[in-house]
Symmetry: C2
């Protein structure tokens, strides 16, 4: 995929930079060590802090945080959905209260385009409703149709406005439909008909069993155009990622490598590690001898365990870099195996290995 801030090699994992910073990770680490092609920002969070005013003055998020490669922003739909009691959804849009100070705000399909224009991401997402799991068929259907109408309003509004910074912003629409096959099929067909530069699958990884997720992904990927990137939002574990690549997904994002890393969980090609575990206290071997970031060989498991035991910032930093480095390595490897034509046997082997607890 090409953007005005450079290429994205798919399949790709996008580190999450909620408020414009991937937590605990320096810019140069993200570029040179983790080597991420693209990062994600959250519209809801960036709208509240620093706000569109500051972002416009800065010349957009790229200028503000110094990241020169592509950025994707979500639409705020998922965050607003997470606010639960603090929001009210109508046909017009969503009224919600800030999680920071309780102040009232209103997101509409149009206002969310304005905000994402101000943020200036290369890929911007349509405003959607993310129904909870489980949802009744009736609710999921009604919600899906509203998401489709919101999409049309977004496309209409975007056509009438210009970006601020002179480069292209691609709108990705989002397939919804909960775990109902006919709804997912209908939604995927509707989304595909828009001819967007890329298409997203939303409303998964919200508590449904992995099998249900895979079933929906397979069904939707059969309908969404093959020559445009397919983005599965908010997914997931390394195993989830490989399984979904097998089903046709090209793009992923998830807080798991950073959030779980901050809690002491490390993902590796041989399984996952809870570094807080007593068993690592005198294991002076490198964090991950097969790892590909500077932290993997420079620090030992025993030292990292000590940093977590002492609640040192550096522990969270090391684990975040390791996990993101591993996720990016994993999708780059997947790409190599797809090109080489041996993706499936490799994937099956990796899934078995990575599921272990070390």
């Amino acid at each position: 995929m090409q953007t005005d801030h450079g290429p994205v090699h798919t399949p790709i994992f996008m580190p999450v930079g909620t408020v414009g910073s991937v937590k605990g990770v320096h810019l140069r680490e993200l570029q040179d060590d983790i080597n991420a092609d693209i990062i994600l920002g959250n519209t809801y969070h960036l709208y509240l802090r620093p706000g569109t005013d500051i972002l416009k003055q800065a010349g957009g998020l790229h200028k503000f945080n110094g990241w020169n490669r592509p950025i994707l922003t979500d639409s705020g739909g998922y965050q607003v959905y997470s606010l639960a009691e603090r929001r009210k959804i109508t046909e017009e849009g969503v009224k919600f209260q800030s999680h920071i100070d309780g102040s009232y705000h209103h997101f509409t399909p149009e206002s969310v385009m304005d905000i994402q224009r101000a943020i200036g991401a290369d890929i911007i997402m349509a405003f959607d409703e993310c129904p909870p799991y489980p949802s009744t068929y009736e609710y999921a259907k009604k919600s899906m149709h509203m998401t489709h109408r919101w999409l049309d309003r977004a496309i209409d509004y975007l056509g009438k406005t210009d970006g601020y910074y002179g480069y292209k912003q691609s709108l990705f629409p989002i397939v919804q439909g909960s775990t109902y096959k006919d709804l997912r099929r209908e939604s995927a067909e509707y989304i595909a008909s828009k001819g967007a530069d890329g298409n997203a699958i939303g409303g998964l990884s919200v508590g449904e069993p992995a099998e249900a997720m895979y079933e929906m992904t397979a069904l939707v990927c059969d309908i969404l155009p093959e020559d445009k990137p397919r983005y599965l939002m908010g997914v997931g574990t390394p195993v989830n990622i490989l399984e979904n690549i097998a089903l046709g997904v090209d793009m992923f994002d998830c807080v798991m490598p950073t959030r779980n890393g901050r809690n002491g969980m490390l993902f590796t090609a041989d399984g996952h590690i809870n570094i807080k575990n007593k068993k690592w206290a005198n294991d002076f071997s490198p964090i991950d001898s097969a790892g590909n970031t500077f932290v993997d060989l420079q620090y030992s498991k025993a030292y990292l365990r000590h940093l977590f035991a002492a609640n040192e910032l550096l522990g969270k930093q090391i684990a975040s870099i390791h996990n993101l480095g591993f996720y990016l390595w994993l999708v780059r490897e997947a790409r190599q195996h797809i090109i080489a034509g041996d993706f499936l046997p490799w994937k099956n082997q990796m899934v078995k290995q990575m599921d272990k607890r070390l």
Copy 2:
């Protein structure tokens, strides 16, 4: 100063790595960006976590945390003094309760040597009592004499034991005497008589006015040998450091650059900045255009302010690196000006500038 882990160019500032990690700062940043000659570890903290058992298995702190340049460990005297209600001082040593789990421990001049042998620092400190400020003359005198007796016990004990790792560990004794000139003089003479590789001034920067600190430092530096490094423990602000260099001090350590950094305070050659201040919200200039670490030009003041407003880890990391980079720049500059013979006019100019609030 030469150590078996390389040279230390004085005057020097030692970043504090309390539990073997300089908070929020990666090893390679400390080496290549901040370019610290030597770091400090805390005997009290390292004894509690990870403990001497793990450190011995690792082969010492250098192997444990990966830092290959010199390390100095304090004696635990100051930390034990900070425990206030949780410790009891006798001639034998100090009984105290861990701040982590309340467990009981006993430090003696001898046991503290054992612990520092296990940690394996290049420079180890004698166990001392740090009297509070203010102290009565009687208390300060009694305490100082006990510190001297403890020093003799430490020297005696060290002479009978070997290090674990085959390299040299230099014992630095500590001058005490509170803010009483005759006690400081007596203590400095006693300490100087031991012919140690370097000598420390303790019991300052504990609440006394800066003028009292300078008066004591001047007096003690006149007595301690000129050809051995003089280490002023726990000091201080950039202004304190330059003033004390002028009085003859060669080594410093302080948590200020990292701790204040984590709270949003930046030290620069032109004064200090509270980056949380609203006035920086749309200042898109670099953090410090005269700064010498990668963070100084890569991130803007507005972005750093935003990171603090959103309580992002990265904000604390950036401020810590900036401040340590500045402190190390400052002492390197001081060295250049001493060599060039124009230290005093430069120092006077810098003190004026750095005292400003930006």
